[in-house]
């Protein structure tokens, strides 16, 4: 188990290096420099600015000095916010996005698993069709449609909930969380329903039922595990999806989170910010995928065997 984790960890390193290098050169290749402005910037000023940000050095030198800084945990100064380092900016935006992603994830897992299990336990009845149809809505109505519609209804017509900001007015975390989490709740609901169905048809469940165990015990002790496995495997990609989903949700609700900064940095050609956030996000995604892989192997004895034999 440990070696499996270690091996996967080591495998992630080349991925990260590719990400860093590719982003570094891609960003430099982009048209539109960071210092262009409407009021003409005289060449001496451009030179001075470039010197301050080391842009006048040959590109390989810039790359190596960037990697050097990275190893020391420094993402460099932001181009757009001259007084701030990218570290500071990430620190400012990260707690918000993390909170949003966490709440959305909790919502998705809680509602998804419970409705999926509920439906899976009574297949082909109304208790199955209703949640599954609702979950279909959750999958097919994207967040950038659901969000504004909820804003329109709850925020503007009904005036029940605030429609922008995060942490400024009480209740302003509700709509963004729902918008982000709903789609994933729907997907998780279907996944766990499928998982439960597969497990319930297994022989060992029939044995347990024949043994006369009460329903609650069967569900919580045996079936749930089977129902959770596909969900856990999904959590890794779900996390990546939540991060990118946060771009849209943060834009709609004007939330000062890392996702919105990333999109803005891309538009502003803030090289260091783009690089920093890309690397940061990528690392998070890789770590999460790794964790979810490890946990699902641990949960599912079949996969465990597979990995042991597959080397």
């Amino acid at each position: 188990m440990f070696y499996f984790a270690l091996r996967r960890l080591i495998q992630s390193v080349p991925v990260l290096i590719i990400v860093i290098t590719a982003t570094f050169f891609l960003v430099r290749a982009a048209p539109g420099g960071p210092f262009s402005a409407e009021k003409n910037v005289p060449p001496e000023v451009v030179k001075a600015l470039e010197a301050q940000y080391k842009l006048d050095q040959p590109i390989w030198q810039q790359y190596t000095s960037y990697i050097n800084d990275l190893i020391h945990g420094q993402f460099g100064p932001s181009f757009r916010y001259p007084g701030r380092t990218v570290n500071e900016l990430i620190e400012a935006g990260l707690p918000v996005t993390a909170e949003l992603a966490l709440y959305a994830m909790l919502l998705a897992v809680f509602f998804g698993v419970s409705s999926g299990v509920y439906a899976g336990l009574r297949p082909n009845s109304i208790h199955d069709y209703l949640p599954m149809s609702l979950s279909m809505i959750g999958i097919c109505v994207p967040s950038f449609l659901m969000g504004p519609l909820m804003v329109l209804f709850f925020g503007i017509y009904m005036e029940w909930l605030p429609i922008s900001g995060w942490g400024n007015t009480p209740g302003d975390k509700i709509l963004p969380t729902i918008t982000l989490g709903l789609g994933y709740a729907a997907f998780i609901s279907r996944l766990s329903r499928g998982g439960i169905l597969e497990v319930m048809s297994k022989d060992y469940i029939r044995t347990a039922r024949a043994k006369g165990l009460p329903a609650r015990v069967i569900v919580f002790k045996h079936a749930l595990r089977g129902g959770l496995i596909p969900v856990v495997a999904f959590l890794g990609p779900a996390f990546a999806g939540l991060l990118s989903g946060s771009f849209v949700v943060e834009t709609i609700f004007q939330i000062p989170g890392l996702g919105r900064f990333y999109v803005q940095a891309a538009f502003n050609r803030d090289y260091t910010m783009i690089l920093g956030t890309t690397i940061f996000f990528s690392t998070l995604i890789i770590v999460f995928n790794l964790l979810s892989d490890i946990v699902s192997v641990w949960l599912d004895p079949k996969l465990r065997d597979q990995y042991r034999h597959n080397k």
């Binding site: 048209p31 402005a37 000023v45 007084g83 503007i156 509700i174 004007q254």
Partner: protein, 551 residues
């Protein structure tokens, strides 16, 4: 299994109750109500400020904050925009209008108690002109003798630059030419004083982005001091007790909210979260004018929305073509139906009545004459006219205008235009490099004088970018106008230049900007003017006003 249903129903009920109770709790006191009682102004400030170093920033949001934290020698009267004393108690101007002597108030102090002296200004302007600092607004100081040479690195001895401290409270400034608008320039943030000891404590003078601008470190001489700076969330300033005019300051503080999205900002205003917005969504203007006319403030703004021509392109090199294109745009329809903000259609480049200067309108909306011109130029009914691309920076507003104009040109002239939009930075590069045919542009005047509009178009001017060149124009703007001592003569020279510009039409003026904002009735002291200039110490919040329902 029924237990499952019951437990689910319980859970749902619990959630519903929590939800509703949280929702119920949102009807607390709004920012505006609280602000009126505490004397805090909630100001919608558009984009998040990059920095708070006046020698590094370039934007309007930064300007609003810096005008609270710092003060220049001279300020402006919010109604007339004429100069009024600020740090300088009084000043004298020599007969040849090239030497100014400012007497600095003895009561002028920095926020940490230090005295503000003429030496502070000399040092600050030295820093602003430092080539290594890369100050994009250094050009504001160029009317000063030798300032430009120093900024370009041609001379390194600052004592040759025309600013000198004659004593602790007397500042002498020598200009290269009589510059009638010089007093206005002093109110721009690039000419504000900065605190030498603080800056040098945190780094070298030419270093960007040191910690001197953080709350707790920032030392300024304005009516407010920097209290909090939450990245992307808000900037809070509070009353500076060492300010020389403290008695006049009614506000206790200002909270600047960076809200980029115009629609969100308007909603926040409606919910009572803001006293004043930076802008108003286009589609709401008419509704406000009809239902809540006391809340919406619209007035002309010193800026021009125009299109540039790349005159190096063969078929655009013909001024008949350019004039035809200019004459076939129905500007009234544009401002009525597309921009809907009541903007003034522009038939000159400099906005009319710029401190008394009004150029003569040189053309009008005349599709028939436009067609005649096109025929003369060799494109009867648009035949043979190459497909031309219109470039604009990505924005809904610019797109709407471009689409409308594309249609007008098709309908009136029979020519085909394609549209292309690029992100801001890419678009700027394209225009700078001449990789465009026709490009949308906007220009806000830095000060109220036709020069800020007209000196763009001199040959190879940094802001020209059209490739158009006319030696007579250059002579009028760069040689004759600057040495003129008489306002009327000077304006006549500039009007002649503008006539040359409009006769050749390297640009198409489209409309004069409008400033639109929503202001809560409890805010008193904001006067409409063409620079959107606000004097914070004039503002007071009327807390006796009953909260009215905003529709």
């Amino acid at each position: 299994m029924d237990n499952l249903i019951k437990s689910w129903a319980w859970l749902l009920g619990l959630i519903l109750i929590t939800f509703l109770s949280i929702a119920g709790c949102t009807k607390g006191q709004s920012n505006v109500e609280e602000g009126n009682i505490e004397g805090i102004l909630h100001w919608g400030n558009g984009t998040d400020p990059q920095e708070l170093d006046p020698h590094v920033v370039t934007g309007v949001p930064e300007h609003h904050i810096l005008s609270a934290l710092l003060e220049g020698l001279v300020a402006k009267d919010p109604k007339t925009l004429l100069p009024i004393p600020a740090v300088a108690k009084e000043w004298s101007i020599s007969a040849d209008k090239k030497t100014y002597i400012f007497k600095i108030r003895k009561s002028a102090l920095w926020s940490n108690g230090d005295s503000l002296t003429a030496h502070d200004f000399v040092w600050s302007w030295w820093r602003a002109l430092q080539p290594k600092l890369g100050n994009q607004y250094a050009y504001m100081l160029f009317p000063i003798e030798n300032a430009e040479s120093f900024a370009r690195g041609k001379i390194t001895d600052f004592s040759r630059v025309g600013v000198k401290a004659l004593s602790a409270d007397l500042l002498e400034v020598k200009l290269s030419n009589p510059t009638p608008y010089f007093l206005q320039l002093l109110d721009h943030y690039s000419m504000f004083p900065v605190h030498k000891k603080t800056i040098e404590k945190f780094g070298k003078a030419h270093e960007r982005g040191t910690l001197w601008t953080r709350p707790g470190n920032f030392v300024g001489n304005g009516p407010f001091i920097l209290k909090e700076w939450h990245l992307f969330r808000s900037i809070v300033v509070e009353k500076n007790l060492n300010y020389w005019d403290l008695k006049k300051v009614s506000l206790n503080g200002i909270k600047f909210h960076p809200i980029e999205n115009v629609t969100t900002e308007e909603r926040m205003f409606r919910m009572g979260q803001l006293h004043k917005t930076a802008s108003v969504p286009i589609d709401k203007v008419k509704a406000y004018q009809k239902n809540n006319p006391n809340l919406i403030k619209i007035h002309p703004y010193l800026g021009s929305y125009f299109y540039r021509f790349n005159t190096k392109i063969p078929h655009l090199n013909d001024k008949r073509v350019r004039k035809a294109l200019a004459m076939s745009i129905n500007r009234q329809q544009l401002t009525d139906r597309v921009t809907k903000g009541g903007e003034t259609p522009a038939f000159t480049f400099t906005p009319p009545d710029t401190f008394g200067y009004s150029a003569r309108a040189a053309f009008e909306f005349n599709p028939k004459m436009a067609r005649d011109l096109m025929r003369e130029a060799g494109y009867p009914n648009g035949e043979g006219f190459p497909v031309t691309e219109l470039l604009y920076n990505t924005s809904e507003g610019h797109r709407k205008i471009a689409v409308a104009i594309q249609q007008m040109w098709k309908k009136n002239l029979g020519i085909n235009i394609t549209l292309s939009n690029q992100d801001w930075k890419v678009y700027l590069d394209s225009v700078n490099n001449g990789s465009y045919a026709i490009a949308r542009a906007g220009w806000i005047g830095d000060y109220v004088d036709p020069n800020t509009f007209l000196n763009m178009w001199v040959t190879d001017g940094g802001n020209n970018r059209t490739g158009w060149s006319d030696p007579y124009y250059d002579d009028l703007i760069s040689q004759q106008a600057p040495v003129s001592l008489n306002k009327f003569d000077r304006y006549t020279i500039m009007a002649k230049a503008e006539a040359v510009l409009l006769e050749n039409m390297p640009i198409i003026p489209i409309y004069i900007y409008n400033s639109k904002s929503l202001v809560h009735p409890s805010v008193k002291g904001i006067e409409p003017n063409i620079l959107n200039y606000v004097l914070y110490k004039n503002i007071r919040l009327d807390s006796t006003l009953i909260e009215k329902e905003v529709d």
